[in-house]
């Protein structure tokens, strides 16, 4: 089991404290959800792990090894895959090429859990995009673009997947399909960590929730406990005075 430990990570942009020393442990045997209002530091947390930003303080450890501040491509090669809030792809390339690029790079591990798809076609089938293989990515509807983002991340053979608002902009049916996809990914032995503010979807998908608020962790525990937590309800619904 792979473990990603985030220990006291702090990140400040000018006067804004995006992360005020957050501790999160992400284990690959569970589906972890991180929720929080806009600006609570969720994406910054991913970016600090994935080498987009260097944390101002704190450490990031992957399976015991310190990976704090390593460049993004090295993080990708170590088996931490991610998606982006803005549904990223290689827009003018074909869907197949999008996947091929990820499969030709990514994690160098070919053992057990990470050796799953021997060809781009198999992976496309797994995410349900096989009929779009020859279309260019930007010609696909938005919902499929979200799927493609997940497929590209999976193409890198990650042991841990970090998903940044994967259901943003999707309707109920599309979100439900994605939830199914994430469950199947997790059954393969890949750790899944999801950021979203769609509480209902997160409650359905994750057994374990973490809540961020203004760069602080205000709750961490089993989903049913967290959603009843007074502080969490206050953050999301406001208090009656």
């Amino acid at each position: 089991m792979a473990v990603l430990e985030i220990i006291g990570v702090r990140k400040q942009f000018g006067g804004v404290v995006a992360l005020a020393g957050v501790d999160v442990t992400i284990k690959s045997d569970e589906i972890l959800g991180i929720i929080g209002p806009n600006g609570s530091g969720k994406t910054t947390l991913f970016n600090a792990v994935c080498g987009v930003y260097r944390p101002d303080a704190g450490r990031v450890r992957w399976n015991g090894a310190d990976i704090t501040g390593k460049p993004a491509f090295e993080i990708g090669r170590m088996g931490i895959g991610r998606t982006f809030q803005q549904a990223m792809s290689f827009p003018s390339l074909s869907v197949r090429e999008n996947i091929q690029i990820a499969m030709e790079h990514g994690s160098h591990r070919r053992d057990g859990a990470t050796r799953r798809w021997s060809s781009a076609e198999e992976l496309l089938q797994f995410v349900g995009l096989e009929e779009f293989a020859d279309e260019s990515a930007n010609a696909m509807p938005f919902g499929n673009l979200r799927r493609l983002g997940v497929a590209v991340a999976l193409g890198g053979r990650p042991s841990q997947l970090l998903l940044d608002e994967p259901a943003a902009g999707l309707n109920e049916a599309e979100s439900a399909e994605l939830v199914q996809l994430f469950r199947r990914v997790h059954q393969l032995g890949v750790g899944v960590c999801v950021i979203d503010h769609h509480v209902q979807m997160m409650a359905e998908l994750c057994r374990h929730l973490i809540v961020l608020h203004f760069g602080n962790k205000i709750a961490d525990g089993p989903t049913e406990t967290v959603v009843r937590d007074a502080k969490v309800i206050e953050v999301y619904l406001g208090t009656q005075s």
């Binding site: 994935c50 993004a72 990708g76 003018s92 790079h105 193409g155 890198g156």
Partner: protein, 326 residues
């Protein structure tokens, strides 16, 4: 495939068509320029990084050849690897700013580096021959063929030009080509799947420098006299114009661009000042109307025609096709 065969046959058959001295020397210039442009198309077309330094990189190749000939008595073949490597190293240097800046800012930086080179060559004293430049000996004979005959010299550069087309074909259809395209398409996503984008950017520039260096070596020995003005920023701008006109992402775009810009003023009898205006207008027209270049539009229309023809055949084979037309 068909187009490729036609281009190869056409390019190699030219000397037998008695094109005349003037057209042949234009054809030599076209081929040498195209070699440099194929290099330029690697970072520009594949990795999406536009640079305006290629005349300068070609200059590194040409001056390396001239200086090695003067000081060490090397011939064109002996100097070629040195020209290529020197140009590649400087191409890597020219490419370094692309790790921090992009788009127009990077293009202007490379333009400035190219101008700096021209100024340095002009003030290089006896070492670079200052503003007068340097002279080179003749190519001599290659495999028993006398290169003093212009038709033979043309064939030699045409072979190098076709080799660079072939190299481009293999690069763009390889895993390496895909890696470069991923940088063009989305650098952040490319990094997240484990691609060392910084290394590949500089690598693409160095690879393109090899083309520019070989082009410079061939140019120096074909012109037999080189001077700083051949390698300034203005010439780099022409190179960029040619690549954009032809289409940086297409296999025959750089060749088409070099051909059009070299031959058009001659064929249409436009004087140099007017042709510059014409290029400016042409460039704006291509960017606005034919993004992707002339060859990209030709390819698209060809594919469209094929699809239309296939559609028509399908219609004709349907039993009720005749009836519906009445």
């Amino acid at each position: 495939m068909v187009v490729g065969a036609l281009v190869i046959v056409g390019a190699l058959a030219l000397p037998w068509l008695n094109p005349g001295y003037r057209a042949l020397s234009f054809a030599i210039t076209t081929c040498i320029t195209a070699i440099v442009l194929y290099g330029m198309a690697i970072p520009f077309g594949q990795a999406g990084i536009m640079s305006l330094g290629y005349a300068g990189l070609m200059g590194f190749g040409a001056y390396t050849a001239a200086i090695l000939s003067r000081d060490l008595g090397m011939n064109m073949w002996q100097a070629m690897p040195f020209s290529a490597v020197v140009a590649a190293l400087f191409a890597g240097l020219f490419g370094l700013p692309s790790l921090r800046i992009s788009g127009h800012h990077f293009a202007i930086t490379t333009y400035v580096m190219c101008e700096l080179l021209r100024i340095a060559l002009t003030n290089g004293g006896a070492f670079t021959g200052a503003a007068t430049g340097l002279d080179l000996p003749a190519i001599g004979t290659v495999l028993g063929v006398n290169m003093d005959k212009l038709g033979n010299a043309y064939l030699l550069v045409a072979v190098f030009m076709l080799a660079s087309v072939l190299a481009t074909y293999f690069i763009s259809s390889s895993k390496y080509g895909r890696t470069l395209r991923s940088i063009r398409e989305n650098e952040q996503l490319a990094r997240s799947v484990g691609i060392n984008t910084n290394m590949h950017k500089v690598g693409a520039f160095m690879l393109s420098g090899l083309f520019a260096g070989v082009g410079g070596d061939l140019q120096a020995y074909n012109f037999r006299h080189i001077s700083p003005d051949l390698y300034g920023g203005a010439v780099s701008l022409y190179f960029a114009l040619m690549v954009m006109l032809g289409g940086p992402r297409t296999l025959f775009g750089p060749l088409a661009g070099a051909f059009i810009v070299t031959f058009l003023p001659e064929v249409m009898k436009i004087d140099p000042v007017d042709s510059r205006i014409a290029y400016g207008v042409a460039l704006i027209a291509v960017i606005m109307l034919l993004p992707g270049g002339i060859i990209a539009v030709v390819e698209r229309s060809y594919r469209w025609l094929l699809a239309a023809a296939r559609g028509a055949r399908r219609d004709a084979s349907r039993p009720d096709a005749g009836a519906s037309r009445v």
